[in-house]
Symmetry: C3
Subunit: 336 residues, 3 copies
Amino acid sequence: MPSPRHLIRLQDLSDTELEEILDLSSRLDPRSGRPVLSGRSVGMLFFRGSLRTRASLESAVHRLGGHAINLTAMSDFWELEERDGVTMDGRSPEHVRDAAAVLSTYVDALAIRPSAKMQSWDVDRRDERISAWARYATVPVLNMESSLWHPMQALADLLTMRQRLGSLAGQELAITWVHSPEPASAAVVHSLLHAASRFGMRVRIAHPPGFDLDTGVVREAEEVAAASGGGIEFSSSMEEAVRGAGIVYARSWQSLESYGNPTLAASHRSRATDWRITSELLQLGNDVGLMHAMPVRRNVEVTDEVLESDASLLVKQAGNRLPAQMALLMHMLRAH
Amino acid sequence: MPSPRHLIRLQDLSDTELEEILDLSSRLDPRSGRPVLSGRSVGMLFFRGSLRTRASLESAVHRLGGHAINLTAMSDFWELEERDGVTMDGRSPEHVRDAAAVLSTYVDALAIRPSAKMQSWDVDRRDERISAWARYATVPVLNMESSLWHPMQALADLLTMRQRLGSLAGQELAITWVHSPEPASAAVVHSLLHAASRFGMRVRIAHPPGFDLDTGVVREAEEVAAASGGGIEFSSSMEEAVRGAGIVYARSWQSLESYGNPTLAASHRSRATDWRITSELLQLGNDVGLMHAMPVRRNVEVTDEVLESDASLLVKQAGNRLPAQMALLMHMLRAH
Amino acid sequence: MPSPRHLIRLQDLSDTELEEILDLSSRLDPRSGRPVLSGRSVGMLFFRGSLRTRASLESAVHRLGGHAINLTAMSDFWELEERDGVTMDGRSPEHVRDAAAVLSTYVDALAIRPSAKMQSWDVDRRDERISAWARYATVPVLNMESSLWHPMQALADLLTMRQRLGSLAGQELAITWVHSPEPASAAVVHSLLHAASRFGMRVRIAHPPGFDLDTGVVREAEEVAAASGGGIEFSSSMEEAVRGAGIVYARSWQSLESYGNPTLAASHRSRATDWRITSELLQLGNDVGLMHAMPVRRNVEVTDEVLESDASLLVKQAGNRLPAQMALLMHMLRAH
């Protein structure tokens, strides 16, 4: 059996494939999908909670005539072992290689949202859990957000930016950290940085001290940007990043430097409570559209005023997850 | 975009609409629904547990060819903020206005069972959570039981009473409180009172001290009854209420007077442990059919003898939720 | 209404029916099922967690064009009373007879995985919970593993053994206990023992002291084996059981002798930590295929070496649950 195609990171798609998926996304009418997945099932395994990903992917599968089987770790599932060769006398009753092999016989694709150990970034950045699923599944594995990457979000983000800006090459994208009492993972920003670099965007990233992105991800994105004619700059000022940008992408990501150290992380955040998107800030941009992967804490990350303004692309962006994922499913399952 | 139609309370349907839905309910064969919802999805969001509502609505969606996406707050979801204008630095990471707007892009209707705060009846009676969903969703919102109303149950109740009694005008309905160690909400009785009044039934309500229904609901129902030729009477005696009735509807509802005060509520209940439906009681009626929205505590709320007798309409009534909700979905989603 | 057909144990199927189901299972292509369950729903109620059963049965229903409604006790459900005639003033708000009657009006079959009380084997072996569902449901009830039986697993096991051995009569099957820190129930082995006996296999069962199977199940299987020309032998040595066998079936089952006594059970297990399937052991067999109902604790129950060898039938066996359950559904729901 040939090895199945997986989507763990956007890098798993060639430029041609990525272009095809985006083109298809923009042409699809989600309300009248053809039943190209008729008789096919997609297993969705959540080891962490989800709203948008769960609802939009399940809807995407349904609208294409397929069936989504939802497995929630907390009620249906158990902790899986992912290390090879261990003597399994601990908490995990099952190895991911066995779960992956078996589920592959029941469904046509496996979408996985793994949990992270949250102790060490050096460990979690390896994405060992989603990688183990990909290694042992005999059907395509789709990453529904790992520690390092969130490729489905990036597809919707690319679609949203194209709808707003047209061609992305040379366009200015500001990615800015915002304050939140419960920051999200950096996966969304990592995938966005790669995606924007690949399309030749000029990216400026602003964040307070202690919130550097993953160095491996940044280095790779810089190489991609160099090849595509784009570029990446860092700043410690939201204003500097936003000035002249056509898109501002706000995200509150965890401190990787103080990963696994909640006290230190809270201390980092406490010095940056004013990192918030306001109307004044956005006026520095160039007819700015604001993006945010949601959930968004109103008046903490972004003001109500901005969210209710025409600048906000948030609902359109979240809505784009549906056609983007329909196109992705059609591509990965070769269903046209 | 025109504002979508919602069903928060039965009052949201005109007399003509209500008549159409009931007629359709009684004509439908649930086992052979036409796939009029083909390609359409209904999001079901449960912030509290459910058996009948969850199973019957999901089955209704399926039997019409649509897809139900089930989101359970405990595992898939999180606490949502519903107040406008607040600085969201507390527990809720997302505002209902954003969740409602986004989910509206994935599904064709949203069925919501909100939780209640359970502190103050004055607060919970405002139904702020379901109202917030209705305000911000761009697809129809269907109430799967809020603090104040349970319109889907009322549709099945109307259908059941019609099947038993024929035309409802002038018919005698006894609604009686029954004892339970864990009383349910008053929502079922509120919606029933409105529904019965609207169809001109003569309603008698019996309950022990401390268990008055919501005064606003009663006042509105009295106005409706006055217009329809029906009437509402209160009693402190089950026997008095049941005498001559064609339908007895049993329900153990919470004390609104001692809402949020479990000790006082238990004290109220402890003086009414003999409020139970027995064969002797039902003999006071006029060829009585017994209704109850279930779950029913056997030999506490209703005796086994009654439940196994021909007088019990409980299973038929619960079964009627399926055709009633199929008809409701067809109406609300304009799918015929 | 005639009483519906249930599948609580494999004994509920006649020889002819069992043969038909197995034949259909082996002919079915799970990837291209005909939509014979179109418009029909199967309710799946889990009072305990599940991976393979949940995913394979839901996939089976979908691939036949039907809909599975998943009800998980922990989030959707509550504790049900199954004793008749009690005054329900305790924790259970609903009686299984009412839940079964109502759910029967919404779905076309009910698949149940009951929980057990785990106090006394004499009590749990009666399978009172699944029996109560069968008594009160008006649609077929399918057992998704009770304390005593797991007939769906047995169907997949029979299919797997046939694929490996051809005709089963006279073939040698070794069932051996293996060590695990968290043993499973004996239900899988009970159903397997009945199934193998029915097809005339020569069964040898090995287990350490304290792990006798249910005496009622064994006695009945011995009678079945006597009639079919098969036979059952017991041994306290894995090697003795495996010698000459064509199939070795490994399972870590609970001690029924120390049921409800975790300390005593752990003590029994601690003296049998070397009961593990190794390559050396399997060489005693006759071109052995290894079966195991999973989940399997690697290097505790079975070594990695064996699991990665050609002798391992585990993934094929788990995969067989899909066609076996598709065939079962077609049979029980008379959908061809």
